[in-house]
Structures are given as structure tokens and as C-alpha cells.
Symmetry: C2
Subunit: 459 residues, 2 copies
């Protein structure tokens, strides 16, 4: 029997112009979710996708929420049930004056790096989600069926905080639960290597006020005698890291696991150009834990970061005040099995124990944290997908980390009990959330082919 994938890839190549036409039709709909003026456009984008899914043989519907509708479709058959997630809403386009063309009048433009699709949403996330639907379409055209048992789940509020997401998932958990989730909303590693994100750092946050005197004091009358809470804050936060960049809070590293050797080898093979990554933002030296590689620092190691601090007089000119209060916001990127609540408790205990006389700390409202998402890569689907991506892109794909959280992956785990394979084809210069967003034609074309290979291998 011949390989069922070969004619599908050929079909994808032959029908790329039509696939682009469909993407452009979707890109012409200004589905800006955060602006109520575009609510009808969001609904129109959802309807467009429902119709497209129905054309592919999915049983699909636009499902109402208190916000913009969800698109849910079910189709195909097979042993492994896969759920694909994407979002059809887009970011606002202002400042419009910085766009070289109408953001909702998409076009193919030639650039030095090759042809690109220019439009709001081209990369985030309409172009990416359509790679999956086009792979299904080519498969259906060649083989008459969908490539496996699939549920499509498309959100219209991702760019506006996803207020309806968890309630909708919770209400429809039985319907949405699958064996594995697929998300196409990430990028190529350094814009060239295909990658599957299998580790996402979690996040814990806290905010506090140090109180000292019961009012602001004049530094002439009290300076040298009274406690200055700005000094206290600087002294304690200044001790949060040692000279080697390690976090000094007792218990902070509880639950942090070492990187498995297989991942360590894959990450080394990526030959991450940290000098360029830092150079892009005007830096040159990895400033974190000095016994870790740069990729470990951002993917597999936890952090303790002051995100904001303030106190005393911060306006123009000068005021010789000893303030009554000092304030800070501190967050922690979490990995492995670190527990957000325990990390916050450890920080608060460590902090409070260092307060001198006459100071007290007030912790502000509890802020929900999220643990790291660590996918079970022993599931053969991950290795299968990695090989499929390597074949398509002609270079080894890697299991990579994500320094930031991707909330939907966490919800799939906590609400629906399934792991997620995050595979995407965007590039760092796609200008997502910025003027002149684009998606490389190569990303779109090879993205479709990548999904065809992955679905063929998983089917």
C-alpha cells in the first residue's frame, strides 16, 4: 500500500492558492474582540468558520457565551481523540497610522526574507489555525475522510482575557475532553527550527506594603533617627538573590526538578544564540543563575522578580521625606512541581522574618497563581510529532520550553485533564499585537504540511 500522506502533501502544494484565498477571506473580517463595536464581526468570523468546518464534514456550530461565541466542531473517527484549539479574534490595530496598508485588506507582499501574508491576525492566530483546517481539507479531498477523530475548538476572546473560556469548558467538559490537545499559537525556535513546547513556566504573584511611621516624616526632623521603609525594602529585596543569581528564599526550590538528559541534549543541539536574543534588547550578559545555561534560565528554572516598586516622593523636583510606606509587586516564574501557594508563603515568611522593629508588612489581596505545565512527553504522540516536524522542515525538531504561561494549556490540564502539544510556525518578527502583522507564506505552507504529517502519523 502506498503512503497515504504523499498525495495529501501534493494536494496541499497544488491548492495553496485556494488555501490562501480562504485565509484572506477570514482575515478580511475585523474580529477585534476587545472592542464592542466589532461584536458583529466576531460573530461573522465564527459563522465563517462554522460554515468552513461543516464543508469539511464536521458537525459544527457557533456556541453562544456571555461574550463572543465559541466555535465547536466534531468529526472523523479513530482511536485517539484529538482536540485542536485556536482563536479567531484579533488584537486592535491602533495606531492605524503605522500600518503600511489597511490591516483588514490582506495581501501577499514580497520581502527580502520571502513572501508574507500581511494583515492583522495573519499570524495571531487566523493564519496558524487555518494551517490545521487546510491539512484536514487536503486529507478529506484525497481520502474522503478526516484524518482521525477530531474536535475543533475555536475561541473568540483570547485577545481580551478569555472571560468565557473556563466557564464554557467546565459546562461542556464531557463534550470537549479528548486524549490530547493540539494548539497552534506558538512559533518556530529562533524563526527556523520546528519545536514542540512541552514545558511552560507557571506564575505566582504577590504585592505588599511595608508600614513604618504613621505618617510621612521630614528628614530634617527625623532623618537618622526614624526607620525609613524604603531602606528596609531595598535591604530585604536586595538579599533575594545571592551573588551567583540563586534565589535565597528558604524552600523556594522545593519541587524544582533537574532537566532530563534527553531534553538537555535537545536544547544543546538548538545552539541557542543567547547573545543575539539579549542583544536584541540591548543586553549582553546572562544575569540569572550562573551555573545554568541561558535556555535553562528562561525555560526550566524558576525566578523571583520585582516587577514594580515605589515609595516616597516620585514626582518632579525633590522632597526630603521619610515616607510612611514602601510598596512592591513581586512575581515568581515556576517550574516542575513548585506550588504557587507554597512559594508565596515561603516568600512572605522569609520577608517578614527580616523586618526590623517598627515595621510591619501588609500583604495585599491574594492573587491566584498557576503551577508550571509539564507535558507527559512519554506519550508517544510527542515523539511521533517531533519526527513528523523534523521531516517537514529538514532539521531536527526539539521539545522546547516556554518561559511564560499559556493559560489555555493549563486549563486543558486542570479542567479537562489532558496534556497539550503546542506546535506553531510564527516567527519573532511577525509583529503580532503590533502594526504590520504578517505571517510568512513558508509558515503557512509548511505549517499545513506539518499538520498533515502529524495527523497522518498519529492516525
Amino acid at each position: 500500500m502506498s503512503d497515504p500522506l504523499v498525495p495529501v502533501l501534493a494536494r496541499i502544494d497544488e491548492t495553496l492558492p485556494q488555501a490562501l484565498e480562504r485565509l484572506m477571506a477570514l482575515l478580511r473580517i475585523p474580529s477585534i474582540s476587545t472592542d464592542p463595536a466589532y461584536a458583529a464581526d466576531c460573530a461573522r468570523a465564527a459563522d465563517w468558520l462554522v460554515a468552513d468546518l461543516q464543508g469539511l464534514g464536521f458537525e459544527a456550530a457557533s456556541r453562544p457565551t456571555p461574550g463572543h461565541p465559541m466555535v465547536v466542531g466534531h468529526g472523523g473517527a479513530g482511536g485517539r481523540h484529538l482536540l485542536f484549539y485556536g482563536h479567531y479574534d484579533v488584537q486592535p490595530v491602533d495606531p492605524l497610522s503605522l500600518w503600511a496598508r489597511d490591516p483588514f485588506d490582506p495581501a501577499i507582499e514580497e520581502t527580502a526574507a520571502g513572501p508574507v501574508i500581511r494583515a492583522r491576525g495573519a499570524s495571531d492566530d487566523k493564519g496558524q489555525l487555518m494551517t490545521f483546517l487546510e491539512a484536514c481539507r487536503a486529507w478529506k479531498a484525497v481520502h474522503g475522510t478526516l484524518p482521525g477523530r477530531l474536535t475543533i475548538f475555536l475561541e473568540g476572546e483570547e485577545e481580551s482575557g478569555s472571560p468565557s473560556l473556563v466557564p464554557f469548558m467546565t459546562e461542556n467538559a464531557a463534550e470537549l475532553r479528548a486524549d490530547l490537545a493540539l494548539i497552534c499559537d506558538t512559533g518556530l525556535f529562533e524563526g527556523r527550527a520546528p519545536a514542540i513546547s512541552t514545558m511552560l513556566r507557571g506564575l505566582a504573584k504577590t504585592e505588599f506594603t511595608i508600614h513604618a511611621a504613621n505618617r510621612d516624616l521630614h528628614s530634617g526632623m527625623y532623618g537618622g533617627l526614624a526607620r525609613n521603609p524604603l531602606h528596609v525594602m531595598a535591604q530585604i529585596l536586595g538579599r533575594m538573590h545571592d551573588a551567583s543569581g540563586h534565589v535565597t528564599i528558604p524552600g523556594f526550590y522545593d519541587g524544582v526538578e533537574d532537566l532530563p538528559d534527553t531534553l538537555r541534549q535537545q536544547w544543546q543541539a538548538l545552539a541557542f544564540d543567547h547573545a543575539r536574543y539579549l542583544g536584541d534588547v540591548g543586553l549582553s550578559v546572562p544575569a540569572g543563575e550562573q551555573d545554568r545555561t541561558p535556555l535553562e534560565m528562561i525555560w526550566s528554572r524558576p525566578t523571583a522578580e520585582v516587577n514594580g516598586l515605589w515609595g516616597g516622593y516620585t514626582g518632579a523636583g525633590f522632597k526630603t521625606v521619610l515616607p510612611a510606606e514602601a510598596h512592591a509587586k513581586v512575581s515568581f516564574r515556576l517550574v516542575s512541581k513548585q506550588d504557587p501557594a507554597r512559594v508565596i508563603a515561603a516568600f512572605r515568611h522569609w520577608f517578614a522574618a527580616q523586618l526590623p522593629a517598627d515595621c510591619r508588612v501588609e500583604w495585599h489581596d491574594e492573587i491566584a497563581g498557576s503551577p508550571a505545565s509539564v507535558m507527559e512527553i512519554s506519550d508517544p504522540a510527542f515523539e511521533i510529532a517531533r519526527h513528523a516536524l523534523s521531516d517537514e522542515w529538514g532539521r531536527p525538531a526539539a521539545f522546547v520550553g516556554e518561559g511564560g504561561s499559556i493559560p489555555i494549556a493549563g486549563y486543558f490540564k486542570t479542567v479537562l485533564g489532558m496534556d497539550t502539544m503546542l506546535i506553531g510556525f510564527s516567527r519573532d518578527d511577525d509583529n503580532i499585537h503590533s502594526p504590520n502583522e504578517k505571517y510568512d507564506l513558508e509558515s503557512f505552507h509548511k505549517g499545513i504540511r506539518s499538520w498533515a504529517r502529524i495527523l497522518a502519523a498519529l492516525a
Copy 2:
């Protein structure tokens, strides 16, 4: 020959009601210098004082400035030429709703602590400056002459930054220069002991920005790898004091002299109730150099204080940002012969030497500093005045320090080359700059008698 002071003191006691009437007339003029709507009232207060001085035999005039007028009067004769400084302008009165009566409708009120004069300016500084003029008046009434060679110099912009003061003093230096300046704008020590301020701390200020990345970074993408300037700021400022409260900046203590034994003994005799002083503002423990007494901490020791710091996200909610910049305002109270420019240079050198890779510090515009004012108490006038005050108040007067700067005393030294005796009778509960300002009748009465004694002894 009988003591010429005795009939003067009797005259002061007998004519206290008339002296109060005069003070009330001055208090009725709403000479708020910072509000242009009261410019005519400021001029009226100046004219009132000129007329009063002329009635006492001074050659006096209201002298124009770009702002409110100066009042200058010359009179009397004698070997030692004294210049008396006060200010006739007052602070604004808002919030008016917190006043128990019209701030410009003065009245004598009985309180648990004795009768007080209630009005804006009663203590700061109309009541205080009138103690000096009333002493002159009584002397003149009894002896027909002024008590020595006197220049009166009254400002109308003290509460609005004294913009015209130094230019006026510079232009009229020859006219204003005297052997010694007297200022009545300070208070009794702990509201009971007469005091002469002979040491005033100076001040040096600096402001800086630490720059790291060339833009704000997302802590998911860069956290753990990129330098966080908030950490750098906390680490360096957190090291500015050691565990004993000493400033760690090399060279900072250059020029700091030990307290002379005579002053140390006087200060010990004051039995400063630091527990009450700190307790008033909700504190309990002296937080400065642990080998110094509380009075030394605020009067004779230098400080390094962060007056403001800020950076990153400081609004409501949370933003997981690694900011590009961190900011702080730092000031130093100076004593003895510390040089403001050298202290700032030492701080900047120390700070910059601790910056890690990828950080640079930007120092903001130079802010003029002022050295400490240390009066030459070997001038017998100081000891003479101290004895006169001790006699009047029935308890030993002391040479005390002032933790804050009193710029006019510095200008008298730098522009006119003369030392200043700062003697005043206000109390901490006088509510200066606040609603319901008052001046104790005792302060007014004994203040007049104090000046009569001092002038008699110096004449």
C-alpha cells in the same frame, strides 16, 4: 545705677494687652504669599510693619522685589550691630473646613495648657517676629532709645520658597551686613526649655536612573536571563547602611567632627524623651547609628536617605514586566565640614562601581546642596543670650541642633558673612502649616521678655 532691664520687663508685663492688640491687627491681614490673590494683603502687611517700625524710631521702608516686598528698618546705636530677621507672610489655610474659626479673625482662647492666640501666622511667624518688636518698643518707652544698633529685615516670601531673598541680600549686602543675625522662627526644646540653635544640618541631593535593557521586557520571555534594574537598585541601596546603621559609602564621613564635650553635656542635660518623640509618629526604636544618642542622630550626625524610589509597574493589578529603568532620589543631611559636592561625588562613585554588566546609571541635573551651618559659639553673644534665656525661663537654656536646614541662616553666612543666633518660642503643637494654628500666650509674653533680656545683655 539700677538695672535698666527691670523697668523694661515691668513695662512689658503692664502693656501686654496692647501688644496683643497689635499682634491681632497684623494677624488680621491674610498675607498668604504663595497665592497671587493675596498680593495686596502681603503689601498691606509690609506697610503695617513699616509704619510700626517708624513709630519705634526706625528708618524703615517697604522695598520692592519681583515678588512681595521686603521690610527693612535701621535704628539705634551701639558697638555691636545686630540684624533681626523674621517673615510676615503665612501659609495657605486650606482645608478651611478644619478650622474651628476664621483663620484671619484672631482670638485668645483658653485651653487646658493655658491661653493661646489662635490664627494663621500666630506662631509662624507673625507672633514670633512681634516678640522682638515689642521688646524694642518697651525699651524705647522706658529709655527713649532702641536697645542697641539694630537692623530689622522682614521677608514676605518665606512660605513660598523665598525667590527674591538671595538676590535682594546680594544687591543690598553692604546695607544688611551686621555683626550677628538674630532669627525668631524656631521653638522651645520639647515645648519647655529655651534653646539657641547653633548647629543646622546641611543637605545634598541627587537623583538617578539605572538603565538596563533598551525596553521593558516580558518576564516570561526574559525572566531569569535578563538583568532586572529593580534588583540592582535594591542591592546597591540596600548596602548603603551596615547593620549598625553606619553609612558605608567610602569618604562619606570626611569632615564630620565629634560633638564638643560642652555641647554633649548640655544635650545630655536636656534629657531628650526620644520615646515620646518617636511615639508621636508611631515608632519606638532609634534606627540610626547604634553608637550614637538619639539627639546626635538628628542634630550632629549625617544621614543618607532614600526619599523616593520607583520603577516597573506601579498601577493597580499586576504586570509581569522586567523594566528597562529604575529610579531613585537620595539625599544626605550634612554636618560639620562635610562638603555637599564631595558627598555627592562619593555616593556616585560608590554607586557606579557596584553596577553589574549591562547596567548604566544616569545622574540627573545637579541639585545645589548646602553645607551644615555651625555657629561660632565662642562669640560671647551666644553665652550671654543663653544666660538671659535661662534667667527668663527659670531653667537652663541649651545650645541645640536643628536636624533640618534653615536656608536663611546659611545665606547670612555665605552672602553676608555673619553667624546667626536662632532663638524661638514656638511649640510642637502650634499647628504651623496646619489648620488651627496657635501661639501660646506664654510664648508671646516670655518671648518679648526674653528679647528684652538678651538685648539688654548684648547692648
